[in-house]
């Protein structure tokens, strides 16, 4: 990933999302009650893929 921010030892976003979206304890919150974790992963992967496609188009055009 071409993540912005400090270059020193920054973890790759894709590795981070593996853990943040599929890992961690799922306890029921009050406000995010209806966001099923599967839905969360789907939404986020779409965001990632869209951004990658956009970047690729930028290179090609």
């Amino acid at each position: 990933m071409t993540a912005g921010g400090p270059p020193h030892a920054e973890v790759a976003l894709v590795d981070l999302l593996d853990r943040l979206l599929a890992g961690g304890v799922v306890i029921t919150g009050d406000l995010s009650l209806c966001i099923a974790d599967v839905e969360l992963v789907r939404i986020s992967l779409r965001a990632l893929l869209t951004s990658v496609e956009a970047a690729t188009e930028g290179i090609l055009t």
Binding site: L20, A22, G24, V25, I27, G29, D30, I35, D37, I43
Partner: protein, 281 residues
């Protein structure tokens, strides 16, 4: 002593409580939490329960409604900012004490609501924290890297048959590399378990090539729970196995807070999602 409200930002908006992690009550962790900045750069505080404590930020409720969260997750810039802010808090604490990371964007209406949840799950949280104590998570990703079998540019195939043969060789090379990567993954799992260098393992889904800056195809995306005293042996053993394997590339990431081990293995969990995390048989 820390007042629960001494770092709350002055604001007219109704606050909600964003929770990052659960930990055992611990003065050193409390001190370091006070110096951290969390989501949207907001201060971090400790909310004490009876035996465990939550690491939280007071956030404007309107920024974390279901709709607002969905919008953040759907925008790569916002998603990355949220993910890194969340991670920064957990990573800082994990270097000092055992932490139980919570899923991204776990938000409560107020302290009482979160305290009730802490209290209800107290036994489970303590048991998991005790299990994670003294461990780090390490990632091992294995990529298939077929040996270059295509002729250099300019050296064009002389006939259609040459072309087909070259393609078949290349495809066979690809299949071999995939197999070599999967075999190496199984060998790493087996070796680490036999040598008692790891406490647990999870297999995440391989990363799509489009999301990875690495050359080759990701075949194995594993996470290991490693006792800290075995860190060096774990790395040496994994690198030794990789060095003896042709056609693959292996990458170790970490140390991570134990994100992948915060929940029980999927088959023991009621909310199992086998498409996301698989446990090694």
């Amino acid at each position: 002593m820390i007042s629960e409200h001494d770092t709350a930002p002055p604001t007219d908006l109704p606050d909600a409580v964003y929770a990052y992690a659960v930990l055992l009550l611990n003065e050193a962790a409390e001190r370091s939490a006070r110096e951290l900045r969390g989501v949207d750069g907001l201060p971090v505080r400790i909310l004490r329960g009876t035996g465990t404590a939550a690491v939280v930020s007071d956030v404007p409720a309107e920024a974390f409604t279901e709709e607002a969260i969905a919008q953040r997750l759907d925008d790569i810039t916002d998603l990355e900012r949220l993910a890194r802010d969340h991670h920064q808090v957990i990573a800082a604490l994990a270097s000092r004490t055992a932490v139980l990371p919570l899923r991204l964007a776990t938000v409560y209406l107020d302290d009482d609501s979160l305290l009730r949840r802490l209290h209800a799950d107290d036994g489970h949280f303590r048991a998991t924290l005790n299990r994670l104590e003294g461990h780090d998570e390490w990632g091992v990703k294995i990529y298939a890297r077929p040996q270059a079998t295509t002729p250099p540019p300019g050296d064009r195939p002389r006939s259609g048959r040459d072309y087909l043969r070259a393609r078949r060789t290349s495809r066979d090379g690809h299949d071999l590399a995939l197999q070599a990567a999967a075999d190496l993954g199984a060998r790493v799992d087996r070796t680490l378990a036999e040598a008692n260098l790891v406490t647990d393992v999870r297999h995440h889904r391989p990363q799509p090539a489009a999301l990875s800056a690495e050359p080759g195809e990701n075949v194995v995306n594993a996470a290991y729970l490693v006792p800290r005293e075995h860190t060096r042996s774990f790395q040496d053993r994994v690198e030794l196995l990789a060095a003896g394997t042709v056609g693959v590339r292996l990458e170790i990431t970490g140390p991570w807070a134990p994100y992948s081990f915060a929940s029980p293995p999927p088959e023991q969990s009621e909310r199992a999602d086998p498409a996301i995390a698989q446990v090694t048989p």
